[in-house]
Symmetry: C2
Subunit: 154 residues, 2 copies
C-alpha cells in the first residue's frame, strides 16, 4: 500500500472519530454538536456578539440567529443588548448553560489526552511535530489566500 493512501485513510479515520465523539458529546450535554460549539465559544470568550460567533464559525449570521434562538429557548444562553452599540447583541452563558457545558467534557479531547499521556516522551514529541506539520500542509492555503482573519480566531 502506498504511503499516501495510508495517510489519507488514517486522516479519514481521524475525521470519522471526531464526528462520532462530537455526537456523543452533544448527547451528554443535551444539545446538538453545533449548538454545543456555539456554547463553547461563548463560554470561552465570556460574551460574544452574534456576528463574532458567525465569523469565527465561518457561517452566515442568519444561521447563528437560528441557533441562538434554540439555545435561548432551551435556557442555555441569553441575549443582552449592548449599551455601547445598541445594534449589537451580546450572547451570554446562563447558569444552566454552564452546567450543561460541565456535564459535557469533550470526549475526543478526553480520549486523546488520556492515551497521549501514557506515551513515552519522544513519542509525544513526534506526534506533536507531525500533527502540526500535517495541519500546516492542509490549512496553509486559507491564510495564504488572504482570507480575512477573524478576531479570536487564534
Amino acid at each position: 500500500m502506498d504511503r499516501i493512501d495510508t495517510c489519507l485513510i488514517a486522516l479519514r479515520r481521524i475525521l470519522r472519530a471526531a464526528e462520532t465523539y462530537g455526537k456523543e458529546l452533544a448527547q451528554s450535554a443535551g444539545m446538538t454538536p453545533v449548538q454545543l460549539r456555539v456554547v463553547q465559544i461563548v463560554a470561552e470568550t465570556g460574551s460574544s456578539t452574534a456576528g463574532a460567533i458567525a465569523r469565527r464559525m465561518h457561517v452566515a449570521p442568519a444561521t447563528i440567529t437560528a441557533i441562538i434562538d434554540k439555545l435561548e429557548r432551551a435556557g442555555h444562553v441569553s441575549r443582552e443588548q449592548s449599551r455601547t452599540d445598541r445594534r449589537q447583541t451580546h450572547i451570554v452563558l446562563t447558569e444552566r448553560g454552564r452546567n450543561a457545558l460541565d456535564r459535557a467534557p469533550d470526549a475526543l479531547q478526553q480520549k486523546f489526552a488520556t492515551d497521549f499521556e501514557g506515551l513515552e516522551d519522544w513519542e509525544q514529541a513526534m506526534i506533536v511535530a507531525v500533527l502540526e506539520r500535517v495541519a500546516s500542509m492542509l490549512d496553509r492555503t486559507e491564510t495564504q489566500r488572504g482570507a480575512v482573519l477573524y478576531p479570536g480566531e487564534l
Copy 2:
C-alpha cells in the same frame, strides 16, 4: 503551551481543512459533499446496493434513498433492479456521473499528495506512523465496542 493542547489544535485545523476542501471539491463536481461521497462509493465499487452504501456511510437507509433521488434526478446515477434479488436496487454511475467525478479530483488528496511527495523519506515514514497511531488512538473504541463491521468497510 501544553503538548496536548498543541495536538488538539492541530487536529482541529486538520478537521477544518478537510471540511473546506470537501466543499470546494463538491462545488467543482456540481454536487454537495455528501452526494459526491455517494458517487465516489458507487464508482469505486462498480455498483452498490442502496443498503450497502448506507452501511458504509453509517447512515440510515432512508437517508440514502433521498440522496439517490437527487443524484438520479441530476442524471449522475441510475437505479437498476437486481435480477437475482428483486428487492435490491443497484445504483450505477451514468456517463454524466463519471464525468462529474473526473472533474472533481479530491482537493484534500491532491494538496496533501503534492506536499507529501516533496518530503524526505524519513519524514514521510514518520508522518505515516504518527497518523496511524493517532487514528487508532481515536477510533479504536468503535471496533472494541463490538460495532458491526460492514462489508467494504476496509
